[in-house]
Symmetry: C2
Subunit: 192 residues, 2 copies
DNA sequence: CTATTTCACTAAACAGTGTTCAGTATATTT
DNA sequence: AAATATACTGAACACTGTTTAGTGAAATAG
C-alpha cells in the first residue's frame, strides 16, 4: 500500500500543476522514478488513478465542511455550508474541478467509493435546507428546489471562476464580486 | 473557403458524438477523406479549429437569444433572456460546453473573433439588468452583482445538468427540477 | 508548344500518448 | 540446491498532434 500512495501523491502534485490531461502515466512514472509499466501493477488504468484522486478530493471537501455540522441554527448552518463550499472551490480549484466539472466515465461512478462521500455531503446539505423549511424559515416548502437552486448558484459561481469565464471583469475585482454575490443570494434566500 | 467549411462541419459533427478530446485530427481528415496534413493547410492547429467552432457556437447562441431584444419591458426581457440562455444550454450541450466549460487556451481568447460575440451578449445582458434597476424594479441598485448572481445560477443549472452532476435525481425529474429552479430564482429576484 | 511556376495535396517521419506482455533479477519457500 | 513468488522493466503496439520534403496536376510565361 506504500506504492499506491506514492503514485497518488505524485499524480495529485502533477495534476495540480498541469491539469488532468496535461499529465501522462509516463510523467507520473518519471516522478516516482519507476517505469510506466509499474503504474499498471497498482492501478488498472489512468481512470482508476482519477477515481482514487476523486475520492481524496471528496475527503478534503468533507473535512473542509466538517465544522459546519456543529452549528445549531439551521439557517446559520446553511449559510456557513454555502460559504465553505465556495471557499473549498476557490482554495482547491483542481479538486473542485475533479469533483464537479471534469468529464469522467460517469456510468460507473455510482460503484466508486467517492460517490458515497458525495451523496453523504449532498444529503447533509438537503437536510439542512429541510431543517430551515421545518423552522418555517422560508415561505416556500419545496425543499428539493430550494436546495437545488442554492447549489446552482454556488456551483455556477465557483465554476465560472475556476474555468476562467470571468475575463470581462478585471482580475482583482473577481473575488470581491463573488463575495458580494454570495451575500446577495443569502439576502434573496431570506425572502424566499 | 469551401474546404474550411467542410473541415468545420466534420469537426462539429464528430465533437457532438465523441467530445473534443475524443476526436483527433486524423478522425476529421478521415471523415472528409483527406490526409491529416491537409487540415494544417487550412487551420494552424487543433485549437484553431476549436476557436472557429466556438465562434459558430457563439453565433448559434446569439441567434437563439435574438428574439429577446424585441421585448420592451426590461423585466420581461430579463426573464426571457434567462429562459432562452438555459434553453440554449439544454438544447446544445456541446456548444454550451465549448463556450462556458471547456478548458481552452484562454490567454489568447481575447484576440479571437468569438470573444467579441461573447462580450456583446454579456453587455446586452448587463444592460437589461441596468434597465430593470433604472425602472426601480429591484431594491438593490448594484447592477453588476445582480447580473453576475443571476448568471451564476443559470450557468450552474446548465453546467450541473450537462456535466452529469445530477445523478442523485432520477433522470426523468431533472428537467422539471431545472424548470422549477428557474421559476424560483425569478421569484427570488423579484424581491431583490 | 515547351518551360516554369503555382497550387492542392500527401507519405512519412518525430515525438509524444495509454497500455500490454514477455522477460529479468531478486527474495522467499520447499 | 531447486522451485516458486515478488517486484519490476524494455520493448513493443496502436494511437495522438504536428512538420517536412516531395508529388503530380493545373495555370502561366516565354
Amino acid at each position: 500500500m506504500e506504492m499506491r500512495k506514492r503514485i497518488l501523491d505524485a499524480a495529485l502534485h502533477l495534476f495540480r500543476e498541469r491539469g488532468y490531461d496535461g499529465v501522462s502515466i509516463r510523467n507520473i512514472a518519471e516522478a516516482i522514478e519507476y517505469s510506466p509499466a509499474t503504474i499498471y501493477l497498482y492501478y488498472k488504468d489512468k481512470s482508476e488513478i482519477f477515481f482514487a484522486l476523486q475520492f481524496e478530493a471528496a475527503a478534503v471537501k468533507r473535512d473542509h465542511l466538517l465544522p459546519v455540522a456543529g452549528i445549531e441554527s439551521p439557517w446559520e448552518r446553511l449559510i456557513e455550508f454555502g460559504r465553505r463550499y465556495i471557499d473549498f472551490g476557490m482554495k482547491h480549484p483542481d479538486l473542485y474541478d475533479l469533483l464537479f466539472i471534469t468529464r469522467t466515465p460517469m456510468e460507473s461512478i455510482e460503484n466508486q467509493e467517492c460517490w458515497k462521500l458525495g451523496v453523504a455531503s449532498h444529503s447533509f446539505f438537503v437536510e439542512t435546507v429541510q431543517a430551515c423549511v421545518d423552522a418555517r424559515f422560508f415561505k416556500s416548502t419545496d425543499t428539493e428546489t430550494i436546495a437545488y437552486t442554492l447549489w446552482c448558484h454556488a456551483h455556477g459561481l465557483v465554476s465560472l471562476f475556476i474555468r476562467e469565464r470571468m475575463r470581462m471583469y478585471p482580475e482583482e475585482k473577481r473575488e470581491a464580486l463573488a463575495k458580494k454575490s454570495f451575500e446577495m443570494i443569502v439576502k434573496m434566500a431570506e425572502c424566499l
